[in-house]
Subunit: 343 residues, 2 copies
Amino acid sequence: MSITIEDVAKAAGVSRQTVSRVINRKPGVKPAVRERIEEAIAVLGYVPNLAARRMGGARSFLIMAINDRERTIENWSAGRGNDWVDQMLYGGMLACEERGYHMLFELVDTEEDKAVEQVRRVLTSLQPDGIILTQPHSENEQLMQLLKDRGRPFARIDQPADGEDALSVHFDDAKASHAAVEHLAGLGHQRILLLAGDSHYRASRTRRDGYSAAMKARGLMPEIEEARYSFDQASTVATQWLSKSDRPTAVIAENDEMAFAVLHVADELGVKVPDDLSIISFEDTPGVRFSVPPLTSIRQPTAAMIGRACELLMDAAEGKEVGGEHILPFELKERETTGPAPQ
Amino acid sequence: MSITIEDVAKAAGVSRQTVSRVINRKPGVKPAVRERIEEAIAVLGYVPNLAARRMGGARSFLIMAINDRERTIENWSAGRGNDWVDQMLYGGMLACEERGYHMLFELVDTEEDKAVEQVRRVLTSLQPDGIILTQPHSENEQLMQLLKDRGRPFARIDQPADGEDALSVHFDDAKASHAAVEHLAGLGHQRILLLAGDSHYRASRTRRDGYSAAMKARGLMPEIEEARYSFDQASTVATQWLSKSDRPTAVIAENDEMAFAVLHVADELGVKVPDDLSIISFEDTPGVRFSVPPLTSIRQPTAAMIGRACELLMDAAEGKEVGGEHILPFELKERETTGPAPQ
DNA sequence: CTGAAAGCGCTTACAG
DNA sequence: CTGAAAGCGCTTACAG
């Protein structure tokens, strides 16, 4: 039905192995022959069948990114969109296309054992050449063990794990916290509160450490409140300390949700942003442009991280030795929630 | 390396064809044997290799949804998110998973010839069992011809094309326009403007027709302005008619961008929403919750449409006869931009 | 109801 | 530098 490698071989008057060599850019084909084959490919419009390539023992040309099922679906079903997924696809699909690969996006259970089983299944059904692990799967030890046992290259979009030499692509959380503190301190703020996420996550712990270090370096006192990334918890916390007269003049929220909560509470209590209170958030989801006022925030390089991870995994699939830690730059997007400290 | 069908056959003491029958739920296997095989599968943790299945002549278990490259990337790179993509994945991935399929998401060029060539390539490289065509590809005749020639089932997420009997899944644009008009007329509005998209698109034409019919049925005069889905064009138009004293008291915008533009212009001109002006938009992207005030809008059943399309295509892949037009219900989400007509 | 044979479209060693 | 052979893990007819 379709044009196969055999048709190309016949047209070019060579064997199919030689055509295979040309397709795979392998050395050892006389230029004249290579040219003849390339022309036949063009004329016939030949496109290799990936299933057959895989069966022949080659790669699958599939890079699989896995995301947390529960959280992803929750965002989708609430109609809140999901910028993390969008940016993953953006960075991942384009990087893969570039080299003839395809990005496969899969939802995997939060529960560790189920996650391992699900990944095991897709590993053998689809045989992806590389796997991208995002939170919380990037901290699932069993999963990483499975991948190592199978010899499948994987990249963690996360900080390096303790005693783990796995490939890891991330941005510098500590430095981002530092930048947020510096931005606020530079505006004259002395009391800067960190509205923290969940200490269960390594990234959150790193941000706290970075924040504390930056504060101390400035001779300021760190103040941390935990609100677990939740709008409601952040509202409760914010209501408590915004009601006092003796309160921080600036807050760094570890995600946009919590920053929105602060904005909301401030509005209710008549606290003006940024005149009376400055806010910086981590995340920079599309909604930050619509808040009133628009949020100043740290923009994570999600697309770039996934793109880089894909490139590294494709390199690995092609036999290159890859590994180590890859740190990508973040941006501090200054919008309208930060201003000089009140007198 | 991995467990294959051969291992299962050996363990169950049968040939691999018999195992294949069980895997594919085909009739003609003695219950006792079937049970024995199923147990062997469970014990060994056997998972079929999809590439091999495909090579053997079976399905690929891949459903491919294609989206417009340019528009998709533009949204992603602007960090605006892309709710359409999110909802496609939401509806598509879950429907596919349900039956052991995978959803493949691809970006295809806007330009018709390029689109055909790109689809041709992925058709033979990945051999998807079904293809979902969204705008503008759902109106690309050449593309549909290619798919028909190849005998690949496809579903258009669009209204049925003239003289085209292809499978089409969509929501009722005319009825949605009608609902918007009824909602506003019910609030006492007499002058209701339609801020239209682009008459190039069939859906837009249908909405206009539905709007006009609904207005006439009420004895009201249709008023249409075209702003091609653009914020800027909608701003220009809105500025013109909001400056007059003799103006519509309500507007229906064909997408959220244009509705935001109207909101923005109204704010600048001191026109109160919804006291002086009511607004309804089509689309319901996540941003509508953040606008001030939150937009009343028609919510398209994107996830449901893609999910349904996947189901139909999987049915087709399994030999079922599918076709015709599938119309899914929309919702009118009443938020805070609609109110009684001013006296 | 079950199995032996052939084949899908490639690639990987292995010869020459 | 090029080709003949074998095989990847399945499925599809075809026998029995």
